[in-house]
């Protein structure tokens, strides 16, 4: 009962946000620049949330998320550009194939821990990228020209679904098992949790949505090239999750929105752009090493505030 209430509230908020933005597009309050920015934010939120389930929930240190995004981007582009399939099919196949890629990468590498896993996922992501670089069918280094198909509606619906799936997963016995794996693998194992299974499940779900994000990405930016998916992209996604607060879903969402906006704003200050970005990053890490939200969720913050308010 309680949970389904949360669901309806979530859905209602989503519809309101969608409607408001849609109206603003229609009456021209938001031009294409902002439209694109909102789509970019949606894509980055999906990426952040899909990595959050791997790092924040399951505690598996993956820094190769851009690899799965690349898989999604290329698969969807092949679907629409080469095979002439509709975009929605491209998105779904992108998710599925990226999930399979996640499975193939996850099974061998998730036996590793911590930094070793990190470097291993980074390696896999680079391998994926190099494969695309060398496949002429998808244009090699020159990349693939892709039609523009991503709209605000596609992007927003995808975000809503991603957040819903991942938050529903987290708030279930399966999500708790992942949390247990994050907290203490040995104890989780001893409590009857198949740790390998849950690590792989989380990784596959994460990859799936990274693939979806890749599909939206590919169809928003007119062209995809392997360099767009290098380890710097993976770091960017990682930074959303860490800056937002490891283990906090709303934290990763907020960080993704915030950083995307900051980054777009700083476009006009090319000389100092990355300097400011890196200083912000370092300062946040130094003064809030557990990220902006820590492990708290937005609703916890409100709860505390409310309680504080009523007492006062």
């Amino acid at each position: 009962m309680k949970r389904s209430k949360a669901f309806w509230i979530y859905l209602a908020i989503a519809i309101v946000v969608y409607a408001v933005v849609q109206v603003m597009f229609m009456n021209g309050m938001l031009d294409i620049y902002y439209q694109n920015m909102l789509i970019t934010i949606c894509i980055n939120v999906i990426l952040a949330v899909s990595l959050h389930i791997v790092i924040g929930i399951t505690g598996q240190f993956s820094i190769g998320h851009a690899g799965f995004m690349a898989v999604g981007a290329y698969i969807s582009a092949i679907c629409t550009m080469k095979l002439g399939l509709p975009f929605i099919v491209g998105i779904i196949l992108a998710g599925i194939v990226a999930a399979i890629a996640g499975l193939l990468v996850g099974v061998p590498s998730l036996r590793l821990r911590g930094d070793y896993l990190a470097i291993c996922t980074l390696g896999f992501a680079e391998i994926i990228r190099i494969v695309f670089l060398n496949v002429e069918y998808v244009g090699g280094a020159a990349g693939m020209v892709v039609n523009h198909a991503t709209t605000w509606t596609y992007a927003f619906v995808a975000v809503v679904i991603t957040i819903m799936v991942i938050s529903n997963f987290t708030n279930s016995r399966h999500g708790r098992s992942c949390l247990a794996v994050r907290e203490d693998e040995i104890a989780a194992d001893a409590m009857g949790i198949n740790i390998t299974y849950y690590k792989v499940v989380a990784f596959v779900i994460g990859s799936l949505f990274a693939g979806v994000a890749g599909a939206l990405y590919a169809h928003n930016f007119y062209i995809i090239q392997p360099t767009a998916f290098n380890f710097l992209k993976s770091f960017e996604i990682l930074i959303y999750v860490v800056l937002g607060g490891l283990g906090s879903l709303s934290g990763s969402i907020i960080a993704a929105i915030f950083l995307t906006a900051v980054s777009q704003y700083l476009q006009a200050f090319p000389e100092t752009r990355m300097i400011i970005y890196s200083i912000v990053l370092i300062l946040v890490m130094l003064y809030r090493p557990s990220g902006l939200m820590g492990t708290k969720e937005l609703k916890d913050v409100f709860k505390v505030k409310k309680r504080g308010g009523s007492e006062a």
């Binding site: 949970r3 040995i186 001893a190 409590m191």
Partner: protein
């Protein structure tokens, strides 16, 4: 006599050159409360680790409930009915007390990932059942007041209790306790003894426990095994063990016997 619940036959394990445990033969009957004692480094925890699948024995055979469990992964062992606590507390520190117990309860539920993602009725049914059962466990241990507290914020004694509660929530037939009284003062140890006696009755449990606190071991165990240098040196009732010269020499020392 009926078949024992768990049986170790000639079990041994080697780490590099070190034979940590050798040729251990042990059995525990259903419903028994058995102690495992021995000097530090004798191989007690290692024996637990072999029983629970953390280590695979390099020799010998382990049967539980009539089936071999040698080579099982820890989670498989737990799912087949053995659960444990750890010598150094290993709670899920950043999670709530309730979640700690629910996690152990995990394998007893059966709603699937998809049913959770799509919030199907089986999800709600499964989750609310888990929640109820977990709270029941917490009540028994007097932990229900702390249910939304993070595990790391509990006082030490409560953490030890939570470890036991969590192990119980995994629904074991055989419960392994590794030094449950470590770090407790005599008063707390007394309380713990009563608690162990209670849950044993309540859940129809078989218990094997490691402990250095002789007041506890001698007070509640029905039978005791003594390990030294990886080998069993004695087996018997508390009375027999207390007076066994080999055990006195290797482990108890003169004072305790007095």
């Amino acid at each position: 006599m009926t078949n024992p619940l768990v049986k170790l036959e000639n079990v041994g394990i080697q780490f590099g050159g070190l034979k940590a445990v050798q040729k251990v033969n042990m059995y525990i009957n259903k419903g028994e409360l058995v102690g495992l004692i021995g000097p530090n480094g004798a191989g007690k925890t290692t024996t637990f680790n072999m029983l629970t699948g953390v280590y695979t024995p390099t020799e010998g055979e382990i049967t539980f409930d009539g089936k071999s469990i040698k080579g099982f992964k820890p989670y498989q062992v737990t799912q087949s009915g053995i659960s444990r606590t750890f010598q150094n507390i290993r709670l899920f520190k950043e999670l709530t007390v309730l979640d700690n117990v629910k996690i152990a309860n995990h394998h007893l539920a059966n709603h699937s990932i998809l049913s959770s993602i799509f919030r199907m009725p089986s999800h709600f049914k499964g989750e609310s059942k888990m929640e109820q059962e977990s709270i029941e466990f917490l009540k028994i241990f007097g932990l229900d007041v702390y249910k939304d507290e993070l595990a790391k914020n509990l006082p030490y004694g409560m953490q030890r209790r939570l470890e036991i509660a969590r192990a119980l929530a995994a629904g074991p037939k055989l419960l392994l306790l590794d030094e449950p009284a470590a770090g407790m003062n005599p008063q707390e140890t007394q309380d713990l003894m009563e608690l162990i006696a209670l849950i044993r009755k309540e859940f129809d449990l078989t218990i094997l426990l490691i402990e250095h606190d002789m007041s506890l071991v001698m007070g509640i165990c029905e039978r005791i095994y003594v390990l030294d240098h990886g080998q069993l040196i004695a087996e018997g009732t508390p009375e027999e063990i207390r007076n066994n010269p080999k055990v006195i020499e290797a482990y108890l020392g003169e004072e305790v016997v007095k």
